[in-house]
Structures are given as C-alpha cells and as structure tokens.
Symmetry: C2
Subunit: 150 residues, 2 copies
Amino acid sequence: MDLSIGEVAQRSGLSVHALRFYEREGLFANPVRRLSNGRRIYYEEDLEWLAICTKLRSSGMSLATIRQYIELVRQGPGNEHQRLELLRRHERQVEAQVQELRETLAMMRHKVRIYEEHLARGDADRLWNPSRPDAPQTGAHQECQPPEGA
Amino acid sequence: MDLSIGEVAQRSGLSVHALRFYEREGLFANPVRRLSNGRRIYYEEDLEWLAICTKLRSSGMSLATIRQYIELVRQGPGNEHQRLELLRRHERQVEAQVQELRETLAMMRHKVRIYEEHLARGDADRLWNPSRPDAPQTGAHQECQPPEGA
DNA sequence: CTAGAAGATAGAGTCGGGTCTAGATCAATA
DNA sequence: TATTGATCTAGACCCGACTCTATCTTCTAG
C-alpha cells in the first residue's frame, strides 16, 4: 500500500518536482519516509493531506501559512487554539474573497449586459471609441476615456 | 482637474511604480498624456479604469488578459463580440472560483467545528498527534497521518 | 548484460507582478 | 540661492511558487 513519488504525483496532480519541493519546504507533517535505497514512500494519508493542501493553496493560503499550520500539528497536542485561530483567520479571508468576487461578477455582468443590449440594437459602435472621442457616450461605462475633445 | 501620478497613486491604491509599470505594459487605453515638461497627467476616467482594472486583477485576471481587452477597446468599434467573449470567459472563471472557495470553506468549517467540539470537551489532545501514532483517532480528519499503527 | 524508466540531489532558471535604485530634471519654498 | 520633494528613465532586483537541468544511482525487462 506504499506509494512511490510518481504515483503520488499522478494521484495528487502535483508534479514530482513539486512534491520534493513541498517536502523541502516542510509541508509534510511527518518527514517523508524512505526505502533502504533512498526512495521516498508515501501513504494514503499523505494523499489526503495533499488534497487539503491543494485546496488551501487554491484558496490563496501561502505555502508559508500552510507550513505554520503543519508546524503546529507537528508539535502535537496543546496548541489546538492556535490551529483553530489560523483556520478561522483563513476562513475570514476566504469569505472576504468570495464577497469581492461577487462584486466583480456584478460589475462584469453589468458590463456584459450593456454590450449585449447595444449589439442587439446594432449600435454597438456607439460604445466608447477612443479614436472618436466626440462620439456620444452611452452611459454605462466609458472604459477609459480621454478628457475633453481629447 | 488633471491629476499627477502621485495623486493617482494615492487615490487608486497603486504605487507610482506600478502605474508606470502598467503603462509600459500597455494597460491604459490611451497613451498617458504628458505635460510639456514630461510629467504624466491623468484624468478621472483613468481612475475609473484603474478601479475596474484592480477588480479584474483581484479576481484573478492576468495583466496579459487585461491587456488583450484593452487592446480590443483601443482598436475601436467592431469587435464588441470579442470583448463580450472575453468578459464572459472571465465571468465563468470567477464563478468556478467562487464555487471552489465555497467547497474550501465547507471543508474548513468542518475542521474548525471538530476542533471546537474537542476543545469544548477538553479532549483535544486526542486529535491526531504525530508523535503518538497509536492515539485513538477521532474520526473527522486525520491531518496527515503515518500509516498503520496509525 | 544492457537499455530504459524512475528516482535522487543540488542548484539554476522561469514567470508573473511588481518594487527599488541611480542619476537627472524641475518646481516651490526658506 | 539652496534645498527639498516630486517626477522622469532605464534597468536591476525581489518574491513566491514552481520547474528544469545535470549528474548519479537503482530497479525492471528483454
């Protein structure tokens, strides 16, 4: 049931290079064990952790922060409050992120709708045109318009 | 009503360095105008665009993609379908991102809840401890556990 | 026995997105 | 007049997160 680095790479979606890199960076709770010939061996649990790791990464947690967390884990019992703190802090960041993304989506949808309306009416060319600064602006949003007669 | 680079930096939250960098990278629809003495002048519209730009960036749009968009704008009317396409593509990416963040949040909340329960019951020390691989596991999630004995 | 695939290490290189430095110019102020 | 502070350019540098290279060892199949 032991896994080679190649298998772990395949199943985790990380490259073998990245796995060695993560190890150097101290992102595994337990030192990765080796076979007598020096080759790394991994277990299912490592894959589970890597899956979590990947989620944390993709939600914007830095490797440095992941390392902090795993260091707490490595130290063993007694620091659960700190782990909790760390997780909660990231939770709040992710929430903020989601909030910001929502706003961005709203903005983009607005922009898209404006374009669509104009395309539908066939007057999309009256949307802002930098080379014709005197063209009438159609509200919405003028991209990035030169001032005045320009 | 003209703005110096310093004012724009303050109001946009970008550094003056970043503003010059963005300009070099072609992220402004119109070449930034200069005073006779060579100093850049900006207008309110530039600030509006920078605000949008910043939102796009923070939602993960790369500078390269922003440049693509602004290039379409620069080319003037006739390519609205392409602009729309580009915005929609990003919209879909942002939606996917929100989805992933939600999953991450769910995972983290689960983890946090487990920690809290154990802390409340005062048996947090039975959560995984790498140096005591024979400690009983409390379901949930074993961080990154050595095999067997485990 | 040999070739080829997989793994190991150390360290260099890449890429995105800025940031910073040096040296020059210019404007307003003490 | 001299200094201070904002600006300019060109280009070097940085950081995070990998990725790749060179060189060596080891395992597996034919």
